[in-house]
Amino acid sequence: MAFLHTATGTSSGPKSGIKSKSWTPYLLLAPGIIWLITFFIFPIISLASTSTMVRPEGAQIGTYVQELRFQNYIDAFQANQEQYVRSFVYAALATILALAIAYPLAYMIAFKSGKYRNILLVLVVAPFFTSFLLRTVAWTQILGDEGPIVSTLKLLPFVDESMRLTSTPFAVVSGLTYNFLPFMTLPLYASLERIDPRTLEASGDLYANAFTTFRKVTVPLSLPGVVAGTLLTFIPAAGDYINAAILGNPNTRMIGNVIESRFFAVVDYPTAAALSFTLMATILILVTLYIRRTKTDELV
C-alpha cells in the first residue's frame, strides 16, 4: 500500500496544479488482484456463507438455505474434536522431525559441500518432479508388510511377527515429514548460507568452542530460516489429508480427511465449511503467537 501512496503522491504535476493520477501501479497489480478476488476472496465469502446454512426439513440432500446458524461451528467442532487435535499433534511431530532431519542437511550443504553444493540442492527439490500423490503411494510400498523396512525389523529378536507399519500413526507422520522436508530444507539452507563464516571464526577467536559457537551464533543467525521452514511445513501438514488417507487407518484421520468426506461423501457443506474456517483461524492464531514468540521481525 505504501508504494501506491508515493506513486500517486509524487506524480502530481507542479505546473498544472491538477492532481494527475498515475494508473501504472494499479495496472500492474490488476492481474494479481483479479486472480485473488476470483479464486480467493469470492470462494472465502461463499464458504463463509455456506458455513452458517441449514438443510430444511425434508429437503433433498445437498440443498441448504441461509439461516445464519453459528451453532454449526460448535456442533462441527464438538463432533470432530479428536481429529482436530490429532491434526495439530501430527503436524507438530512432522515439523519437529523435519527440522531435525533438515537442519544438519542444510548445514552440510551450506558449509561443507564445496563443489557439490548445486547438485545437492537439486537433489533436495528432485522429489517435486513426481506427483505428491504418487510419492505418498510409494511409501505404502516402502512401509508395507513385505517391504524392506518391516522385513528387516522383523529379523530383530524383540520385534513381534505381527508388526506392521502401514495404517499406523507412525506411517502418517513419516509421510508428512517426508513430503514437506524440502519446504523445511530450502529456507534453512538460505539462512545458513547467508551467515558470514568470519562471524563463526570470530566466535572461536572469542573463546567459544564449536558447540557454543553453534548455539550462540549459528542457531540465532539461522532463526529466520527455522521460522520460515517450520511454518511452511506445519501449515500444509495441519490441513493435509492425503497422507492420513493413504498411509493411515480410521483411527489416524486428520481434520483434512473429515472436511474432505463431509464435502464429497456426506455432502454436508455447512459442517465442512465451518471446520475449514476453524482450521484456518487456529493456524492463523498459532502462527501469530509463534512469530511473536521467536521475534523474527527483529532479526536482520
Binding site: E201, D205, L206, T212, L221
Partner: protein
C-alpha cells in the same frame, strides 16, 4: 581460573621456522620472527605475500605445516583458537549481527565466565568512545563505529597479543587517518602487543614500532620505518616503501669505509656500511627527495634532460633522463631554492654518498614497484 590465565605475565611472541603449504604452493616459507611484548608490530606486504596466513596461524585459524609458535614459554602451535589468549580484529569486523553492541563486546568475557562483565564492557566501550551505542545492533552503526567496536570486542579480553587483519581497509581515506591515530593511542593505553597486517605502507609506517616487509612467504626485511626507508636491503623493500631510483653499477674498490662504483662511465661513492652485498654487481639506490638539481657533489650525473614535471603542492616532481637513457625521479621541495625547470631543460643531478645505498645487483630492478595499490 580463566581469569588468572589472562592476568599472567605475558611474553614475546616467537614464530620459529613456520611454513604453510597449500598443495605445492608455499603461502608462508620458513618464517622466523620475534615480536617483543607490548610492541606495535606490522606485517607489510602485497596481497598474496603470506601475511594474512601468518596472522591466521597466530590466531589458530590455520595450523602451520611446519614450525612452532610460542607466546612466552607456552607453545600454542596446535592450540585451538578458543584456548589461545590471542584475539583478532577481523577484516570487515565480523561483528555478530544478532547481538547488541554490548553483547558483542561481552561475548568473550561471558565465554570465559568472567564475573564483572558490565564494568569491563563499559570500560572497553569508553576506550573506543562509543559507550552511548551499547544497546544498538551492529547494522545500525557506521563503518568507522563498527571498526572501533571490533577493537573493543577484542581488547576487552586483555589478550596477550591482538591481531589486526587489514582493520582499516574498508574505511575511506579520511577516516583511515583518524583511526590510525586512534589505534596507536589505544595500543599505548592498554600496552598489549599489536600485530597489524596491512598492504598499505603508509599505514604501517605511521603506526608500527617495527615493520616486517613480507614477499612471497618470506620476510624481506625487518626494522623501524626509518631503517626500512633510509637503508633498504633489497630492491623489493626499496620499491615497496615509497619511490626509489635504482642504478645498475659495478664495484671498483672497497676501501677506507667506502665503496667506489661505476655506472656507464660515471663514478659514485657509497659508505661501505650501506652496502648490503658482497657481490661486485650492485644496484645503487637513492630516494627521489635526496637528489638535488646541482653538479657540485661527489656523486653527480651531468648532461641530464627533464622529461616530465608535475607540481604536487609541497614539492615538484621531475622525471630526469640520464645520458644513458635511464629515467630518475627527483622531488624538489617548494621553497626558495626551487629551480622551476621545464620539460627539455638540461640539468645535472647530485646527492650525498651517505644518502646512497648498495643492493645486490642480481635482483630485479622493478621488484615491489607498483604493488602497494593492489586489492
Amino acid at each position: 581460573m580463566a581469569n588468572q590465565k589472562v592476568s599472567q605475565d605475558t611474553g614475546d611472541l616467537v614464530l620459529n621456522r613456520i611454513s604453510k603449504f597449500y598443495g605445492d604452493f608455499k603461502a608462508v616459507d620458513d618464517l622466523s620472527l620475534t615480536v617483543p611484548d607490548g610492541s606495535f608490530f606490522a606485517l607489510l606486504g602485497p596481497s598474496g605475500c603470506g601475511k594474512t596466513t601468518t596472522l591466521r596461524m597466530i590466531a589458530g585459524l590455520e595450523e602451520p605445516s611446519q614450525g612452532t609458535i610460542h607466546i612466552g614459554d607456552t607453545d600454542i602451535t596446535t592450540q585451538k583458537p578458543y584456548r589461545r589468549n590471542v584475539n583478532t580484529v577481523f577484516q570487515n569486523y565480523a561483528l555478530f549481527p544478532h547481538l547488541t553492541i554490548f553483547e558483542n563486546v561481552a561475548f568473550g568475557l561471558r565465554r570465559r565466565g568472567i564475573k564483572d562483565v558490565k564494568t569491563e564492557v563499559d570500560k572497553a566501550l569508553a576506550l573506543v568512545e562509543l559507550g552511548h551505542l551499547a544497546e544498538r545492533k551492529p547494522g545500525q552503526l557506521s563503518g568507522g563505529q563498527q571498526q572501533r567496536i571490533a577493537v573493543a570486542r577484542a581488547i576487552v579480553n586483555r589478550p596477550e597479543v591482538l591481531l589486526l587483519d587489514e582493520p582499516l581497509g574498508a574505511l575511506d581515506l579520511k577516516l583511515r587517518r583518524q583511526m590510525q591515530i586512534e589505534l596507536k593511542r589505544i595500543q599505548m593505553e592498554v600496552g598489549i602487543t599489536f600485530i597489524h597486517v596491512t598492504h598499505d605502507q603508509e599505514e604501517a609506517m605511521t603506526m608500527a614500532d617495527t615493520i616486517a616487509v613480507m614477499n612471497q612467504g618470506k620476510i624481506e626485511q625487518m626494522g623501524s620505518a626509518t631503517d626500512l626507508y633510509e637503508a633498504p636491503r633489497t630492491a623489493f623493500v626499496a620499491n615497496f616503501l615509497g619511490q626509489c631510483n635504482l642504478i645498475k653499477a659495478k664495484v671498483q674498490s672497497r676501501a677506507g669505509g667506502k665503496a667506489v662504483v661505476t655506472a656507464k662511465g660515471h663514478t659514485f661513492e657509497i659508505p661501505l656500511s650501506r652496502v648490503s652485498t658482497e657481490n661486485d654487481s650492485i644496484l645503487l639506490g637513492v630516494r627521489p627527495e635526496k637528489l638535488r638539481l646541482d653538479d657540485k657533489g661527489v656523486n653527480s650525473i651531468k648532461d641530464c634532460v627533464v622529461t616530465d614535471r608535475s607540481f604536487v603542492g609541497t614539492s615538484t616532481q621531475y622525471l630526469v633522463r640520464t645520458p644513458w637513457d635511464l629515467e630518475l625521479v627527483v622531488f624538489e621541495q617548494n621553497d626558495e631554492g626551487l629551480h622551476d625547470l621545464h620539460v627539455g631543460d638540461k640539468v645535472s643531478l647530485e646527492w650525498d654518498p651517505e644518502h646512497t645505498f648498495g643492493l645486490d645487483g642480481a635482483q630485479d630492478v622493478n621488484a615491489g614497484a607498483d604493488l602497494d595499490d593492489e586489492e
